[in-house]
């Protein structure tokens, strides 16, 4: 294995985040803090508890997921799209690196950045609302799986996109609506029955539900199903990336 290559790609990507500290870390944290102020404090005080959890605390896992999903996708897609756009990808393609090593470097760095953002948001939430984590190990597992699987998804978008518009298309038009409609700010049980059924087709519901369970032991769907859905998404992403690498899709002519 070309460990040096994985190290330099990972380091390069992390350095990029460090050099754009405000954009990489401060921006998502400030946005999430604003959500806490508006939904948690201002509106949340007028909303009754949901499944026995104060509203301000209830939205923490959803807000973390919102940030994790968008950041994982943004970091990973930009990480591979930009070298393609500038042409510097030639160096990676001509180096003695396997696709697994490329993946470990780029996706590993994107997932790490998202993980750091998630943990900062969690710490920030502690300043605004009372917070307890019922199952810290499961919380960490959901956090990690989400970061990795959506970084993989972002990597796929970055490989697929051949212009900046396409790079933004799926995150803006698909992911953000799915997260907002996936129970970030409410319990699925609060919806009319027909919409509860429709919501079950939204994969993000399973992520948020499982993650919320690890905090408060309340969930919209069973934890086992949530975990299975995250793992299934991870496997699908791996299969797609594997196919893209095998065929050289948008990388090798």
């Amino acid at each position: 294995m070309n460990v040096q290559a994985v190290k330099v790609i990972y380091k390069y990507e992390m350095l990029r985040a460090w050099e754009t500290l405000l954009q990489s870390f401060a921006s998502p944290v400030i946005s999430t803090a604003l959500y806490f102020v508006v939904f948690g404090s201002a509106i949340g005080e007028r909303i009754a508890q949901i499944d026995g959890v104060p509203y301000g605390s209830f939205i923490v896992p959803g807000l973390m997921m919102l940030a994790l999903l968008t950041q994982s996708i943004a970091n990973a897609s930009f990480g591979i799209f930009f070298p393609k756009f500038t042409g510097t990808i030639y160096e990676v393609m001509s180096a003695p690196v396997s696709f697994l090593e490329i993946l470990l470097g780029y996706v590993g760095a994107a997932a790490t950045k998202s993980l750091i953002i998630g943990l900062i948001i969690l710490a920030t939430a502690g300043f605004f609302v009372p917070l307890e984590i019922a199952h810290p190990v499961w919380m960490a597992a959901f956090l990690l799986l989400t970061c990795v699987s959506f970084s993989l998804f972002g990597f796929i978008i970055g490989l697929w996109a051949d212009d900046f518009e396409k790079l933004q298309l799926i995150p803006l038009l698909v992911i953000t609506p799915l997260v907002f409609l996936g129970g970030s700010f409410y319990s699925v049980n609060m919806l009319p029955p027909i919409w509860q059924t429709v919501t079950l087709f939204n994969p993000v519901v399973y992520l948020i539900s499982g993650f919320r369970w690890s905090f408060f032991e309340v969930s919209d769907v069973s934890v086992g199903v949530s975990l299975a859905m995250v793992l299934a998404f991870l496997v699908v992403c791996l299969l797609v990336v594997g196919w893209m690498f095998r065929t050289g899709y948008r990388l090798r002519q």
């Binding site: 040096q4 090798r252 002519q253």
Partner: protein, 308 residues
């Protein structure tokens, strides 16, 4: 000499149907400088890109140091350095960091001493902490060479290394290429500057329309295909070539003051002594005479034109 790169029956057809390479076979000797000449779109960059692993071949095979570039890509790619045609660099990266990145990417452990030597050789040491976007075009090209050499390759591909650079920098680049060859690096460069190939190459390959027309030792190529001409300057202008000189096929210049005799320099008898004697016998007074040899450019043009 031992072959370091072997290309066998290589073909490439892009998804839009364009046939960039047609059944190309080529042996590149260890330690030589091979110049691949050809007009734009001839297939030079495609050939290099396949050998380096950037483009997939449609047919044929390539081996480097006896290893197949697909089956043993780790071994073959670790031996190769590539300087691309475009200035493809991370503009916000610093010079030192980008060279260290390239070295690591090719699996080499960090070696600050080697990187420092490399930067000094490329006259970039004073710019090591400078962001690439702040460098001049010539410096950026040297950074690209530094990146390609950061992992100490045995084979270096230079794709149009002096495209768009000034004469002084071009000569610096040629000196650098010669130094690299002396250190044992095999160099393959693509160019459409004939002067470049003539100046530094050991062998010349000519590609046109995706086919490798010929690969020849530069001197032999010039001897084989190059013609020599002797120009005889006369004291008094002529209206026409005298009949007694007809057997030499002389060309008379427009003003009638010069006679040009074209001959094959490889011939045992060039016919020059007889011609000079016949000129004297015809009563023509010779003011001066000189000889010229066809350049690689003329050979190249005649080959490519001949094909089209």
């Amino acid at each position: 000499m031992k072959s370091i790169v072997s290309v066998t029956n290589l073909s490439k057809t892009y998804s839009d149907g364009h046939e960039a390479l047609k059944d190309v076979s080529l042996e590149i000797a260890d330690g030589e400088i091979l110049a691949l000449l050809g007009p734009n779109g001839a297939g030079k960059t495609t050939l290099i890109s396949i050998i380096c692993g950037i483009v997939n071949a449609s047919d044929g095979s390539v081996s480097v140091d006896g290893h197949d570039i697909i089956a043993d890509y780790r071994h073959t790619r670790s031996l190769i350095g590539l300087v691309p045609q475009e200035l493809t660099l991370g503009h916000f990266d610093k010079v030192w960091n980008t060279l260290c990145f390239s070295r690591g990417l090719f699996g080499k452990a960090p070696d600050p001493d080697y990187i420092e030597r490399l930067l000094r050789n490329l006259s970039l040491w004073s710019k090591k902490d400078t962001e690439i976007m702040a460098l001049s075009g010539g410096m950026k090209r040297r950074v690209l060479i530094g990146k390609a050499l950061a992992h100490e390759p045995k084979v270096l591909f230079l794709d149009e290394p002096t495209a768009g650079v000034d004469v002084e920098l071009r000569k610096d680049m040629w000196a650098l290429v010669r130094e690299l060859r002396e250190s044992g690096v095999t160099i393959i460069l693509t160019t459409h500057y004939i002067e470049e190939a003539e100046e530094i190459a050991d062998r010349v390959g000519i590609i046109d329309g995706g086919r490798l027309i010929l690969v020849e030792n530069k001197q032999e190529l010039m001897q084989k295909l190059g013609r020599k001409a002797m120009i005889i300057e006369l004291d008094e202008s002529l209206a026409e070539v005298p009949d007694t000189l007809a057997r030499w096929g002389l060309e008379l210049s427009g003003d009638g003051s010069q006679l040009t005799y074209t001959y094959d320099p490889r011939g045992v008898r060039t016919g020059i002594p007889d011609l000079l004697q016949a000129v004297g016998e015809a009563g023509l007074a010779v003011k001066d005479f000189k000889t010229t040899q066809s350049s690689l450019e003329e050979i190249f043009v005649s080959l490519v034109k001949g094909r089209s």
